[in-house]
Subunit: 341 residues, 2 copies
């Protein structure tokens, strides 16, 4: 079938592997006929999980990998040594063109390092950013970069802005996505050295709709579609959003259970509250793509349940259909070469 | 009176000046007899506000200042040119020893620059950090630095950790406060160049109870009492916490108003919910001190109401009584000199 999208899935990665990974894979193929999945990992364990479900057998293939990379291992060493780990075997399927994409809930470090070492960057892309969607009052924003690229340079951030724009326009269907850089004030003169150097470059950049600085306070209000920052700050934004939302929700729930009166009220507000909190639930939005590689790599949360895995797999279809990597090559790399000539 | 604590108050700073500032000042003197306040600003306006209240006249003195510094002005220029602004006049009262402390809801930049240029740093302190208390599930943590000290060096962060410890131990009464550095992973090897260089220095530091890295996700759970970071990241944490809390609360309130059933429930949960959200309300915790100056400078939120102003003024009493600056001199500067000799 011409439209088949082949995805290598790390069946052993994450807190709930292989159970939730296999379940998510089955849910995905049952929803989308064009998916073909390679479940990579311990054959016996995967078979035992698959035996629980009904699905079209031709859509799921098991690929054996006898090793696993844990989150505690040094990524570079793990990728180099564990040639038969689920991550390395799956990444090789992408490298060899047998799969279009790789999805994993495993070690972020190993996925980032493996993506670069095994699949490799698109020629001209300086660094591949990890770009999750974060919930806002208006919908979602792309936070780019939350990966392991510490101590970034201005030219990296410009490419992040360009790739983020292409992603939001083509995957989320947002026309002229608003791009902003994370800063500690709205004025152009504010910021650290990196932001001050990057700001004028983004302003000059023709291909993006740059709206200036965004203060962290405005991020949850959805003031920008693409939020550019170096990875350390991006990681802090992502993790703090997760931690604060869950802390606040648990405090509110505890508060509601504190009196008889509020307990009665809690029963009545529960359905509406659930609906609200669902919007602020990151699992709704699939995984975070690692952009700029010669193939798609999607990192899903270590604690992912089947729903997040399924959503990440379905996201891969859109990524391939829209030819995101071709657009990155055309819009960023070609233009860069033109400017240099 | 020996115990008198004299505070110069910027009556013209912030969104609600002079109304809420004067109101907060009156509330503070009515609560604490040892306070003596200088309300600095437009004499006529301050008198008009004061006329609304009952208080012991000898506790409040008006000091005239004919100029104001707005938040849009370049701080260094404003401090140098506007010699008769409420900020400059008030800071001079501290410099001349007429006041122990300065409290303002005005331009952060001007307060930070003015504090350093007019009052000056304690000898040996490299940079004065702005250190607000942020609400957590366990109480509060001190987030140090959220100021304007961008592109910090490791030695700065070590002093922040030391000053923050002294503050939490003496003002909040926390014995051996847990100190952590904001990082993107728990392992010592993780982080950007600044964190990697600072980590071993904090580990060696005898005077503090260093517990290692803290991921942003764990900050709202109160895992550390003193949270060390450079100002850019600190500012992002502070602003994102504020923005996300208010966005989430407004989404929850809207959600509760969405159906008749949930509206009824909302009435019942309201009192309990209010109590919970109060704990996550930054105004409960007074202002943010600018530590390491030869006098106390406290920045309160631009949108402060009287309650925050009052709390910040009362905080100044504790600061003086505990001799925080003497402790900073003794524990940080003396030890530093000893090590160098």
């Amino acid at each position: 079938m011409q439209d088949t999208v082949k995805v290598a899935v790390d069946a052993m990665g994450g807190d709930n592997a292989p159970l939730e990974i296999v379940k998510g894979a089955v849910e995905a193929v049952n929803e989308r006929e064009e998916l073909h999945l390679f479940l990579v990992g311990n054959k016996g364990k995967i078979e035992a999980e698959l035996a629980k479900y009904q699905f079209r057998q031709e859509q799921i293939e098991i690929v054996s990998a006898t090793e696993e990379i844990s989150c505690d291992e040094a990524p570079v060493m793990a990728i180099r040594k564990k040639k038969d780990s689920s991550i390395v075997v799956a990444l090789n399927l992408v490298k060899e063109g047998k799969a279009d994409a790789f999805v994993s809930a495993g070690s972020s470090g190993a996925i980032l390092v493996g993506g670069q070492l095994i699949i490799g960057r698109i020629k001209g892309i300086e660094r591949p950013p990890l770009a999750p969607l974060i919930p806002t009052l208006k919908g979602v924003s792309l936070l780019i970069d939350c990966g392991a690229n510490v101590d970034a340079r201005p030219s990296h951030l410009v490419q992040f802005a360009q790739m983020g724009s292409i992603y939001m326009e083509n995957i989320l269907g947002i026309s002229k996505p608003k791009v902003a850089i994370v800063n500690i004030g709205a004025e152009e003169a504010k910021g650290n050295a990196l932001v001050k150097e990057t700001y004028p470059l983004l302003k000059e950049c023709q291909e993006i709709n740059f709206i200036g600085s965004i203060e962290a306070r405005d991020i949850p209000y959805g003031e920008a579609d693409v939020i550019v920052s170096e990875a350390f700050v991006g990681n802090v934004i992502l993790k703090l959003s997760e931690g604060l939302s869950s802390a606040l929700v648990s405090a509110i729930k505890d508060g509601m259970m504190s009196t008889t009166r509020s307990k009665m009220g809690a029963l009545l507000v529960k359905p509406a509250l659930k609906e609200t909190l669902k919007k602020f639930d990151a699992t709704e939005y699939g995984g975070a793509p690692l952009l700029g590689l010669q193939g798609l790599v999607v990192k899903v949360h270590g604690s992912s349940k089947s729903k997040e895995v399924k959503n990440a797999l379905i996201q891969c279809i859109q990524f391939k259909k829209q030819g995101i990597n071709d657009k990155i090559k055309e819009n960023i790399i070609k233009k860069k070469e033109e400017t240099m000539n």
